[in-house]
Symmetry: D2
Subunit: 455 residues, 4 copies
């Protein structure tokens, strides 16, 4: 038996490859699917079936792409009019090699959500591994707000029932394989540990310690953001996204060529770290550090404009491309050849964005400088403690609430650690704000420096 | 938390790397230990501690080698006079990153056998993973015969107590990480599945279904072979093996150079498949297919003679070298440049070893040809069913029992699938037997062809 | 300036990647063209142009495939009605980065053959590298027999003029980059050294030491074989072969599935070494050792039947697939899962093919055994010396001349080293010959053993 | 014949591997020598001999390290009391495989400088490749100033004679393989093209167009810098450097641990790009962008203090380590775990270094701001054109000439493109200068913006 977890960084998405003898299946494949083909070639197997745990809203599913290369059949849960693949029935069984996979309908996160139980027929018919999609995570459970507040109570109840009546009864010793790990937008409290079992979750998962009523109340009290790209993902994952065939190969553009693309309407995404962006960047560019691309791109990048990339190191190009196509951004016009150094040697327009240390901010606040601290963190974090007198606008709502931010004042943007603030600051720059600072180390540094917060 | 299983093929040995933040530990490192260094470099960690589950008898432990490169401390169980590392106390705790490892003395396989329980302090103090060494495997338990028949009842009882009183009580949801998988000489019935939990073993492991008395009786009834190299491993793993520094680089030898080494006493190990060995091989060479090198080499290769290799493909050299140094065979004089083709082009002495199909054997037996079927499988397999009239000598005892094999008869050697028989046939050849055949596909083919066996 | 030689083993085909700043060109790309895309991604370049030196007859050109991924334009020499790409004019210049490539019409091997001169504009307009296709090799020149004996004198004269009036005048210091190295079917005497200059060839290439008349006479006296697949290559390279998109992924087939494909008409190609094939092989299979697949496959495999592979090691699958698709064999039905061992364990029909050492053959010939030595080497080799009394039929003509080989005699097949003979022997087996032997080490061994040959 | 150029980036150092059949040699191996061992393992060879072209002054030679792993013999030119290896005689010949290497004494760069001519015995005894060390480069020749101004005329004459009487006579068609490419400190005008021949150099190399007298005058007029680390290299390469055994594995240090090392005297080298360093860096650190580490480290880093690294991306660690050990900096105490982001989240002391665009500088100069432009380029570049009123101090002499730089003025540091200036600025910061700016894009940007320079 070959078992591999394929982790897509940034999205913190887990997909699974399971094979036995010469047959294999894949759970929730990602769109850049060569990774599964590499495994079957290494192991001498064919992929017979692809199983989706649900219509994902946070990334483009790779079922159609993987099917295109392998001929594998795709299977979905019931209740949605998918334009590709086949609908599963409760308890439907699939045999491959010496293994058996059984489909279990576990609604709650979405109506068509499925879990799957894997049995090793060499040992017994009993399940040994459970794939739980977005129903049950390690240390957390799936969000139940996606159908809106009206449906939320019912969704939460469904999820409770799915977990307590269908998943946990599979047995304490069953290994847990969820669809996401720590850092996903699909759960705020997922553990950094990626190994667990149903027994460990029954005992240690804080949400599973609640009674049904508490569980539902807790789920209704949670606040999750919903980035605008979710709509595109839902459409793609229902109808089937375009087949890529291979990863896009963006062109290396000399500064003059790059500038030409900008003039024709392409958007510049600068994937360097916030200090590098702060030191020097192309006017009008978005600051999205490479590691945060999967989290922030979907909030600000439209689907109808080509994207241009600025990279710290050309070797990061492939990573940036993977991150973008996983979110359906397939139009990547090119990247800046030799990076920002080439641009500055040409004396093309460059801007700075100053970073303020927490010590500098403290000093300025203490002496009463006329500045606004703009806190762009999620609501929950803001409520846990913020700098006295700060203005709170969630980063994702910035463009809608610009009128609340005065243009004639110095603005210090802060987030948890300085990455999201760099993006927010770059947006404000594009909107004409000139006196913008990014708080280096964000609220983490502020608190580590021992400065006060208010709640 | 970074968790990786490092599997050493052939030995079916599992070692484990566990890291958190910038600190890591390794359980039972193998001797070719660059693999752990690669992980710490990729992940940005240092290895603080190395834990041995017991003094291994089937391979050279890599603790000293890994310590040499990393400065990590090594820890052993109590009761043996190890010449390196430190002795653990029951319940001793080790903190690294956000994790805690607790030492648990679990004698039975050997007296100093240790298990280790890992807790994720982000979640709780409760164990989430158990490293059980050779105490508890997936589908099997450790062998208890190593101290001889007199000690065996006590060892079996110790093992029962270790498993039922110390390991299983850690909880059904705890993930199981043993020291070996299917194919190891340390357990005959280990599952091919490499994922399990204490709960799954409690329910599915056939040996754990037995009561204490049955358990002990069963363990005493088992028969395990003990290859001669175990003694060398026990000495190395007590005193510490020589530091390699890097993998040996055997020289590519032209046929004339290769022949010179043979004349000086080096042993030739032909790692090609049995059909290739059968087709043409260097006179006097041992037939040990590359994949079986970790299993068979320790039975026949002495430690005081240099080894020469014949390879199917030069790219297999590194694998062969790894297999040999894991067993302490560090004197590899060289390999045949351009392989057997170069040798035959020089018209140097070459021999054949005919392979017989089961159909051919059946025909010869039916017509009463004067031949001996020599079955070299383990006792258990022989008792399960063999060809009527066959002679049984276990491969490992062949050289001691040559007088039972007449030299003037045709001998058809058979094993499970034809690999071990090829080695046995090559040994008989060296002893002067001329009419030797290897049964292609072995007893597996015989039975698949529908021919009878007797018990 | 980035300069890389991409060598396709087996075909001994060289293609070239040349880039400067962010622009690059490729000369004679191969069909499995990811290798060029990997370079541009690593170096930060785009491929602007693809140049063919001629319509190749020995492999499928990758221009169309590479164009499909990169949008690069393809350029051919004049005089053939290519269905893709553009026709070059003598002296046409192409600028990319700081480099310039100039097209030079150099007919002789074929009418539309082109060479290309590269200048480094940083240094001067003078050429520094010459790409000479199949006109001039290291130690040899291109064959001039492809248009038939009637055209051959004119082709040879053209080649002489192309080399002496167009290529050599580029300058002694110019680096030579031909389309093939040692082992190609396009030249019999190409050097094993892969570095040369026009000056070195002018001085050392034996054919360039001849006067024009001698040169033409020598070319007319040469004998080259013309494998049947050349026709298919010429058609593909004129009209454009099918786009692959990605390497085919042949399925791993269990023995029963494999057998089913055989019954449906698929051909079995056993890519193991001759000794392994000799030891045990599937009845009816062709013996073509992996390393010889590019040379022998085009002689015997038809284009209308699916191909099944037997591999020594699954990791060789990709190599086998590359070798086949480079010759246009895109229908690869699958490969035998777990190889010949799986097949024999199922007790499916297996045959032997005995290998004879030269010593054994000598003994049999000396004692007057009734056997035929069948020498299947090329005419030239045969004339250089063969075993007295041997029958000569070139391997490529075997199937047409079967009536010359008696069915009731023992036949010992010999070639240079034993690889080609294994294929010939496997063909004879398929034709019903039973007493077939492959001479181990071939005529090389025979002569190394000191035995006589006649001329 | 296997021929590979091993290029060490940064140093622009070329070493060469040449092999035939199963024997190989290496010319000028680098210290991180696993690369050669990988080739012999892939190709099935052993390294018999190592040849040094001279006692290198710009990097630690790897002969002793490679000998340690392979047992190969090392050979030097005559006249220096090397403490390892053997001294060559003029015309001494070495045979390996089917090749021959001949030693040729070619003094001029240094007295013991050697060249080597390679012949392919399959073709003839004539040379096909010349390894010319630091005597003849592509587009340039070796520096002749290393023995001081008194010896320089004789050295230049020696070099002329070596090139014109020994190297060029080998033949126009001979391929040229020098010890350095573009970017080396051993030659200022070496071509970016890495392919050449003696014929091409005879015709295109500007220095070889000069008559003897002009040649010597030109060499005497050249100005080359001599970094302080040259002395250490000369000592190491005469006596033999310490054996590393393997690349150092610097520890990942949490911010508090990192700070502790700083307090104990370790030096911080920040290898991020100048904009990133400018945005935020640890107080007291040196700014040396990774790609410039081989060029700048030897100017400022002492050999008696441990080094701490700040990296943009942990994956660059190995590159940084290689760069440092090639210069003999073996004491690398560790690197900052999770980089500058971790440091700032801890609110540890961070500084900025503002980057000025050329437009901003122009504006300030035009309006008469009180600032000093400090030009730190090499003398030659300064003479070619600089900003009016600028102060010139070569970067390498900065610490000796601090008294010329007023502490109470704004200082804008400029170099060619902004990288070297970042280092200079970071040094001034350490010396207490507060108002320091790095000119973004340097003089390249200034001139591309169309602003005036004076000479």
């Amino acid at each position: 038996m070959i078992f591999e977890t394929i982790k897509s960084e940034g999205l913190a998405h887990f997909s699974y490859f399971v094979g036995s003898v010469n047959e294999a299946i894949v759970i929730d494949p990602r769109r850049d699917c060569q990774v599964y083909i590499d495994i079957v070639q290494r192991e001498g197997m064919i992929i017979k079936n692809i199983f989706e745990t649900h219509r994902n809203e946070d990334y483009v599913i790779g079922s159609l792409e993987l099917s295109h290369f392998t001929g594998a059949k795709t299977h979905h849960g019931p209740g949605l009019a998918f334009k590709y693949g086949e609908t599963l029935e409760e308890g439907q069984e699939f045999y491959f090699g010496k293994l058996k996979l059984t489909a279990i309908h576990t609604p709650g996160h979405t109506d068509e959500s499925m879990s799957y139980a894997l049995a090793d027929l060499d040992a017994s018919e009993e399940p040994v591994i459970a794939f739980t999609g977005d129903a049950l995570f390690i240390g957390d459970v799936g969000r139940t707000d996606l159908y809106g507040p009206k449906e939320a109570p019912k969704m939460a109840e469904n999820l409770y029932n799915s977990i307590f009546k269908k998943i946990l009864p599979l047995g304490d010793g069953v290994i847990l394989c969820p669809a996401h790990g720590a850092g996903s937008v699909c759960g705020g409290a997922i553990s950094e540990r990626e190994q667990s079992t149903l027994g460990l979750e029954r005992g240690l998962n804080p949400i599973l310690q609640k009674k049904k009523k508490e569980f539902i109340e807790f789920k209704l009290s949670e606040h999750h953001e919903r980035p605008p790209y979710f709509g595109k993902m839902e459409q793609y994952n229902l109808e089937g996204p375009p087949i890529l065939g291979h990863l896009p190969n963006p062109s290396p553009l000399l500064p003059a060529e790059f500038q030409k693309h900008i003039k024709l309407g392409a958007l510049v995404v600068d994937t360097r770290t916030p200090p590098a962006f702060g030191g020097a960047h192309i006017k009008g560019s978005y600051s999205i550090w490479l590691n945060r691309l999967p989290l922030y791109a979907g909030w600000i990048l439209p689907y109808d404009k080509p994207i241009l990339l600025v990279l710290e190191d050309m070797r990061n190009l492939e990573t940036a491309v993977r991150y973008l196509i996983r979110l359906g951004y397939d139009r990547i016009a090119g990247y800046l050849h030799d990076g920002i150094a080439a641009w500055s040697k040409k004396a093309f327009p460059v801007e700075h964005l100053d970073l303020l240390t927490v010590q500098e901010l403290k000093k300025r606040l203490d002496r009463g400088d006329d500045l606004i601290v703009l806190d762009i963190r999620e609501k929950g974090k803001w409520h846990d403690g913020h700098i006295k007198g700060a203005l709170h606008i969630y980063a994702g709502h910035l463009q809608q609430r610009l009128d609340e931010i005065p243009e004639d004042r110095s603005i210090v943007v802060t987030c948890n650690a300085g990455n999201h603030a760099s993006l927010a600051a770059s947006i404000l720059r594009q909107e004409g704000y000139r006196e913008i600072y990014n708080l280096l180390g964000g609220m983490t540094a502020w608190q580590n420096a021992g400065y006060n917060v208010t709640k």
